[in-house]
C-alpha cells in the first residue's frame, strides 16, 4: 500500500496530470459502454433493417436505410403485413396472427395461473408454519425451487404421452399447464421475497379487527405486494413467450406458438432473408416494447431474492 500512497501523492502534486488521467478514464468508460451498447443493439437493428431490404441489398451488405439502400416493403409483404397487402386476405398473415394469438394465450394464461397459485403459496410459506408429513416450510420451499433444475427433456416424453391420453395434445390449455409448471418456482421465489418485506404487524392489526386470514391477504397484503406481482408476471410472460422446447414437441397445427413458426421457417426460406427478418422482427417486437417500457419491473423481478 505504501507505494500506491507515494504514487498518489506525486500525482496530487501535479494537478494537470491527475486531470488528464481522470478525463482518459471517463473516455475509456464511455467507449466501453458504447461498444457494448453496439453489441447489444446491432443484431436488433440488423433484423429490423433487413426486413426492409431486397435481394441486392442483402448480397451487397448494405446497412443504413436511405443512405446506402432504399427501404422496400418486400419482407413485410411476404407476411401480408405491408401497407399494400394489409387490406387483402393473406394466408401467411392469418397463420402468423394465429401463432401470435397462441403465444399470447399461452404466455398470459400460464403467467396468470402461476401468479395466482404461486402468490398464495408464497404468502402461506412466508406467514404460516406448515407440516406435511416430515416436511416443514423450508423443505416445501425447497421442493418448489428444486423444480427449476428439472430439464425440459426429462418431462417432454411423459408429457407427450399424458397429453395424448388426456386429449390435451396440441391445445392451448396443455401449453398453459406446462408453462405454469415451468415458471411456478420463479414466481414463488419472487413473491416469497416480496411478502417477507411486508411487516407482519399490518396483518396482525387487521386480524385483531376481525378480518379473516384471507380477508387480510386480499385487502392489506395484496395491494402492497402489487409491484412485485407485476414484476413476477412480466418475467413469466417473457419466459413463456420465448419457450421453444415444449411448444415444438407438444403442439403441431392448432396451438403452435410463434417461436415454433420462426424455427420452422428458418430452414425452408433459404436466402429470402427479408421475410425471415420480418418474421423475426414481428416475433421480438412485443418483447422489445415490454423491455423498453417496463424495464424497471423486469429488473425488480430478476433481482428479487437473489440480492439481500
Amino acid at each position: 500500500l505504501d507505494t500506491s500512497i507515494a504514487i498518489r501523492d506525486s500525482a496530487a502534486e501535479r494537478p494537470g496530470l491527475r486531470r488528464g488521467r481522470y478525463v482518459s478514464a471517463r473516455l475509456l468508460i464511455y467507449a466501453a459502454l458504447l461498444f457494448w451498447a453496439f453489441i447489444s443493439l446491432f443484431p436488433i437493428y440488423w433484423t429490423f433493417t433487413t426486413s426492409f431490404k431486397t435481394a441486392v441489398n442483402v448480397t451487397q451488405g448494405h446497412l443504413i436505410p436511405w443512405v446506402d439502400f432504399q427501404p422496400d416493403w418486400k419482407g413485410w409483404r411476404s407476411l401480408g403485413l405491408s401497407p399494400d397487402t394489409i387490406g387483402r386476405t393473406s394466408t401467411v398473415r392469418s397463420e402468423f396472427l394465429l401463432r401470435f394469438e397462441n403465444s399470447i394465450f399461452a404466455s398470459v394464461g400460464a403467467s396468470l395461473l402461476a401468479i395466482v397459485i404461486g402468490s398464495l403459496a408464497a404468502y402461506g410459506l412466508s406467514r404460516f408454519e406448515y407440516k406435511f408429513g416430515p416436511w416443514r416450510n423450508k423443505d416445501i420451499s425447497f421442493f418448489f425451487l428444486s423444480q427449476l433444475i428439472l430439464p425440459p427433456v426429462v418431462l417432454a416424453m411423459p408429457f407427450l404421452v399424458l397429453y395424448k391420453e388426456l386429449a390435451l395434445l396440441d391445445t392451448r390449455l396443455g401449453l398453459i399447464l406446462v408453462y405454469t409448471l415451468m415458471v411456478l418456482p420463479i414466481v414463488i421465489w419472487i413473491m416469497r421475497d416480496q411478502f417477507e418485506t411486508i411487516p407482519i404487524e399490518l396483518e396482525q392489526a387487521a386480524l385483531v379487527d376481525g378480518c379473516t386470514v384471507w380477508g387480510a391477504f386480499f385487502r392489506i397484503v395484496l395491494p402492497i405486494a402489487l409491484p412485485g406481482i407485476v414484476a413476477a408476471f412480466i418475467l413469466s410472460v417473457i419466459l413463456c413467450w420465448n419457450e421453444y422446447f415444449f411448444a415444438a414437441l407438444l403442439t403441431s397445427t392448432n396451438a403452435k406458438t410463434l417461436p415454433v413458426m420462426v424455427a420452422s421457417q428458418t430452414g425452408s426460406q433459404g436466402i429470402s432473408w427479408w421475410s425471415m427478418a420480418a418474421l423475426s422482427a414481428a416475433a421480438i417486437a412485443p418483447l422489445l416494447v415490454i423491455g423498453i417500457l417496463l424495464e424497471r419491473y423486469i429488473v425488480k423481478g430478476l433481482t428479487a431474492g437473489a440480492v439481500k
Binding site: 404460516f128 426429462v154 411423459p158 399424458l162 386429449a167 427478418a277
Partner: protein, 372 residues
C-alpha cells in the same frame, strides 16, 4: 395430511380460533371421502375399460382429470370444514402443491417406466419392457458422452460470461450519464427469444457469404470466416450467442448487488489511498461474493438446459461438436422417434444434474464459510 399451525413469534398469529362443531367436521370428512370415491371409481372404470374387461368407458382419460379437479376442490373445502382456521391456512399452499406434485410425480414415474422399454414410435410392435438394454446402449453411445463433454465446456463458459457481466455492471454503476439508456440497451438481448436470436445472429449475421460478421472477419484478415464448420469455432460461436442472450441476466443481478453495497466502504478506501484496482479486489469483490455465487449457480442451472440455439443453428453439428444433451435427446425424439432410449438418456442426465448441483451447492457453501 397438510397441517398448518401457528408457531414461532415471527409467524402470523390468529386471534379467533372458533369452535368447530362435530357435525361440521363429519360433513368435511364425508365430502373428502365421497370425492375420493368418485375419483377412484372413474379411474377404475377407465383402467378396466382400457384393459378390455369393461365394455363401456370414456374415449380418453379427460374425465379422470375432471374427477381429479373435483377431488382437489373437495379436499380444500374439506380442510376448511374440518379444521377451520388452520384449514384456511392450508388453502394457501394447497393449490400450488397439488398442481406441482400431480404434474411432476406422474411424468417422473412414467418416464422411469418408458426408460426401460424399447419404445419406438415408428416401430410396429409397440412397447415392450427391455430391462437394462437402454442403459447398456447409453454406456456405449459415443454421441451421448460427447454431448456430456460439451456440457462441461458450456458450463465453464459461464465463468467468462460472469467476468464480462461483472465488468458491465461496474461500468453501469460508475458515475455516468444516460445510465437508463445503457441499462435498457444492455438488457434487451435477454428479452429476445432464443429461436429468433438463432436466426438473427446465427443464420444471418454470421452467415458465410453476406453476413456482416463474416464481412467484418474478412476485413480483419480471416479469409474464410465459416463460423460453424470447424468444431471449436462452432462451439465458440454457440457460446457467444448464448452469452449474448444471458450476460444481461448476470449483469442485472450483479448491478443490484453493487448498488446495495454501502457507499462508505469504498469511500473510506479512497481516503486511505487505495487505487481503484486495489479497492475492487480487496473490498468490492469479496463483498460481492454471495451475489456472484447466486448469479453463477442460477446461470449454471439454466445453462444445463441449453438447447434452443443449438437445435436451430447447428442441429448439433459439425459432427456433434456443438451438441448439448438436450438438443441431442430432442433429435432422438424428433428424428428417430426413439422414445424409450431418449427417455433413458434424459433420466440419466437428470441424475447427473442433481448430483452435480447438490455437490456444487455443498462445496460453494463450505467455501463461502471458509472465506468469510
Amino acid at each position: 395430511m397438510l397441517k398448518a399451525s401457528p408457531l414461532g413469534d415471527d409467524h402470523l398469529q390468529s386471534v379467533a380460533f372458533g369452535h368447530i362443531s362435530p357435525s361440521r367436521k363429519n360433513a368435511g370428512r364425508a365430502l373428502i371421502a365421497l370425492s375420493s370415491l368418485l375419483l377412484l371409481i372413474v379411474l377404475l372404470v377407465q383402467i378396466l375399460y382400457r384393459a378390455g374387461s369393461l365394455s363401456a368407458g370414456f374415449a380418453n382419460w379427460r374425465p379422470v382429470l375432471y374427477a381429479y379437479l373435483i377431488w382437489a376442490t373437495a379436499l380444500g373445502a374439506g380442510q376448511v370444514l374440518i379444521r377451520g382456521e388452520a384449514g384456511h391456512r392450508a388453502l394457501f399452499l394447497l393449490p400450488a402443491l397439488l398442481f406441482t406434485i400431480s404434474l411432476v410425480i406422474f411424468p417422473t414415474f412414467f418416464g422411469l417406466y418408458i426408460a426401460f422399454t424399447d419404445w419406438n414410435l415408428s416401430s410396429l410392435t409397440g412397447r415392450r419392457l427391455s430391462g437394462l438394454d437402454n442403459f447398456r446402449a447409453l454406456l456405449h453411445d459415443p454421441y451421448y458422452w460427447n454431448a456430456l463433454r460439451n456440457m462441461i465446456f458450456y458450463v465453464l463458459a459461464v465463468l467468462v460470461q460472469y467476468a464480462i457481466a461483472f465488468g458491465l455492471a461496474l461500468l453501469l454503476n460508475a458515475d455516468i450519464r444516460a445510465r437508463k439508456f445503457f441499462r435498457v440497451a444492455f438488457l434487451l438481448p435477454f428479452m429476445l427469444s432464443p429461436v429468433a436470436v438463432s436466426w438473427m445472429i446465427g443464420k444471418s449475421l454470421m452467415e458465410y457469404r453476406f453476413g456482416p460478421a463474416a464481412t467484418l472477419a474478412r476485413h480483419l484478415g480471416w479469409d474464410s470466416p465459416a463460423f460453424f464448420t470447424s468444431p471449436w469455432i462452432a462451439r465458440f460461436s454457440i457460446m457467444a450467442m448464448d452469452a449474448w442472450v444471458w450476460i444481461p441476466f448476470i449483469m442485472i443481478l450483479l448491478l443490484a448487488g453493487l448498488q446495495a453495497l454501502p457507499r462508505e466502504v469504498s469511500e473510506a478506501a479512497k481516503v486511505d489511498g487505495a487505487t481503484p484496482w486495489q479497492s475492487f479486489w480487496q473490498i468490492t469483490f469479496p463483498l460481492m461474493l454471495p451475489v456472484s455465487v447466486t448469479a453463477i449457480i442460477l446461470k449454471i442451472i439454466f445453462q444445463l438446459k441449453l438447447a434452443d440455439i443449438v437445435i436451430n443453428v447447428t442441429a448439433g453439428g459439425p459432427g456433434g461438436a456443438t451438441d448439448t444433451v438436450s438438443s441431442f435427446i430432442f433429435r432422438e425424439y424428433r428424428d428417430r422417434s426413439n422414445v424409450g432410449y431418449g427417455t433413458m438418456l434424459a433420466e440419466f442426465y437428470l441424475v447427473l444434474i442433481i448430483i452435480f448441483v447438490m455437490l456444487l451447492l455443498h462445496l460453494v457453501s463450505r467455501w463461502i464459510r471458509k472465506v468469510t
